[in-house]
């Protein structure tokens, strides 16, 4: 896996970046991938931001994990975000484990892995790092910013930091301030990792803890109705209950599988750092308690999308963003998409959702071409 990691695209940012925690970093790697072709005018670029466990490989087969990219349903030739027309850029976030500056990387000062000596990073740090990538690619103004969940938070943060850098802004299934419930759920995952005796041990990883964290998180990405319809009380082996603690129910087996496969592709410390960054995200606080100020004078076309069965980032939290945008007269549209697929809806084949982002991006592009 490590040899393949060396072949991925990386920008070494040779400028210094002062992180929110106060630490100044320089010459740090930012791994990224692009899809489609940047046109002559450089006006067809879309920056996609990944969520907690995503990476820069948003579509096609991920060369490292050999699995389909996280946004395969949305991004690709002829898809909602059509790479025949648009140039899609996606970077691995700071703190990630797919080649960007993160706890899995070697600290040049000590020549050892960062691990938990890695600095605490924020959503703002992630976004500021990605701005260097745009500068490197020579893109002065994006067609669109898009992302769901933590990707949506980065979209909001980007819009607040750089109000003139995108024609349109698509935060999906997210929130402007991480809720107590979401902090609690993240803490549950972190505690599972930290309770694993292999955590912080050299040459070992807290796989069991990370798997439990993933299992718990995975439940939050689905809806009660979705789970009930897919699994109900179906048993793993057709027979009867085993009267043991083996995985009797299909849902148990499914979750165990989700946990087991996750540890092969994700770093436990990255999980700690990235969930922390989500918890620290409070755009309202950044603007002294008035979220509207984050979008004041932003001329971008906003399209906020939520999902009816998402209880992790429910419609009401998405609507707070809409309310703040309306309060400052921004160009905003909002729709709640009906779906039983829970928070994960933005990653899945939800036709109404895909149609909405496709038509929105196309109409924005047509308008700037007028």
């Amino acid at each position: 896996m490590n040899s393949e990691l060396k072949n991925i695209k990386k920008l070494i940012v040779n400028q210094s970046l002062e992180l929110d925690c106060g630490k100044i970093i320089k010459d740090f790697p930012l791994a990224y991938e692009t899809y489609g072709t940047l046109n002559k005018n450089k006006d067809n670029a879309i920056l996609a931001f990944h969520a907690l466990t995503g990476d820069q490989f948003c579509t096609n087969i991920n060369p490292i994990t050999k699995r389909e990219g996280w946004w395969t349903f949305a991004v690709g030739p002829g898809k909602a975000i059509d790479t025949n027309k648009y140039f899609v850029i996606c970077a691995n976030v700071l703190g990630g484990c797919m080649g960007s500056y993160g706890p899995k990387e070697i600290n040049p000062e000590t020549n050892k892995f960062f691990g938990t000596t890695f600095p605490v990073i924020t959503i703002r740090d992630m976004v500021r790092a990605q701005k260097y990538l745009l500068d490197y690619l020579g893109i002065k103004k994006l067609l669109s910013l898009a992302g769901g969940s933590m990707g949506g938070m980065q979209v909001l943060q980007f819009a607040a930091l750089y109000p003139d850098l995108s024609h349109s802004t698509i935060p999906i299934a997210c929130s402007a301030s991480h809720s107590a419930q979401n902090i609690a759920l993240n803490e549950l995952g972190r505690q599972a990792i930290m309770a694993d005796p292999n955590w912080k041990k050299e040459n070992s990883s807290p796989d069991k803890g990370l798997a439990v964290a993933r299992m718990a998180a995975h439940i939050t990405y689905l809806s009660k109705k979705g789970l009930q319809e897919k699994f109900g009380r179906k048993l793993q082996d057709k027979g009867s209950l085993k009267f043991s603690f083996e995985a009797d129910f299909q849902i148990e087996s499914y979750l165990r599988y989700q946990g087991a496969t996750f540890v092969d592709r994700f770093d436990a410390n990255s999980y700690l750092y990235i969930t922390r960054a989500m918890d620290y995200f409070d755009l309202e606080k950044q603007f002294k308690g008035n979220l509207s100020l984050a979008f004041k004078d932003n001329k971008s076309k906003f399209c906020i999308i939520s999902f009816s069965s998402d209880w992790l980032y429910p419609t009401i939290e998405n609507k707070e963003i809409v309310i703040a945008l309306n309060a400052c007269g921004a160009n905003v549209r909002f729709v709640e998409i009906n779906s039983d697929k829970g928070h994960d809806s933005f990653l899945l084949d939800v036709p109404d959702f895909l149609k909405t982002i496709s038509e929105f991006i196309n109409s924005t592009y047509n308008e700037i071409k007028k």
Partner: protein
């Protein structure tokens, strides 16, 4: 474009900020945006219609006017438009107050329950009127608070709402409502259009 929207778009000057409450599929908004360079926003409770608007590039938010209007700042629009939906709200009085707060001027259109066909229907058939403009039965109509042109004018007087312009649509013809002809217009018009503040 229907007569009603013709009248509304004529009232609204170019380059103004307009909020269309209950904007439907965005027909009026699109016209105002493309032909009159208006800076438009829309509010619509039906998801499929909101999606249609987004596809057209229109900034429309999904939501119910009775809950969503409070988020818009005072006098943040030059015009707020409410087309034939006042009668469908649980509390039209409160909605109207919100519209007047948000807009420097407000355009309200109402299906006229004083229209002669409506009157005759009730008089002779003795059942709740069903007409081209009011196609539903009493048990499935979205209209909770029907009023006549006269009712609306009286309401404005009572509430100290200034009527800047009042028009009506009669069999596809547009005319003005005056103090003199209101009794007549209240019988023969299907639709009243009011510019208020």
């Amino acid at each position: 474009m229907k007569k009603e929207f013709e009248v509304i778009s004529k009232i609204i000057e170019n380059n103004k900020r307009v909020l269309d409450v209950g904007c439907g599929d965005g027909t009026l908004m699109e016209y105002l945006k493309e032909k009159q360079k208006n800076d438009v926003r829309g509010l619509e409770p039906q998801k499929n219609l909101v999606q249609k608007c987004i596809a057209k590039g229109l900034p429309v938010i999904e939501g119910d006017a009775e809950e969503e209007l409070a988020q818009f700042p005072k006098k943040s629009f030059d015009y707020v438009v409410l087309s034939q939906t006042l009668q469908a709200f649980l509390n039209p009085e409160e909605v109207l107050e919100q519209l007047l707060r948000i807009g420097k001027q407000t355009i309200v259109t109402i299906p006229n329950f004083g229209y002669w066909k409506v009157r005759l229907h009730l008089l002779f058939k003795g059942t709740m009127p069903v007409t081209k403009n009011l196609p539903n039965e009493w048990y499935n109509t979205p209209n909770l608070h029907m009023c006549t042109i006269k009712d609306f004018v009286n309401f404005c007087t009572k509430k100290n709402i200034k009527i800047d312009k009042s028009m009506c649509v009669t069999e596809e013809k547009i005319s003005e409502i005056t103090n003199k002809n209101i009794g007549y217009k209240n019988i023969f018009s299907q639709l009243g259009i009011f510019l208020i503040e």
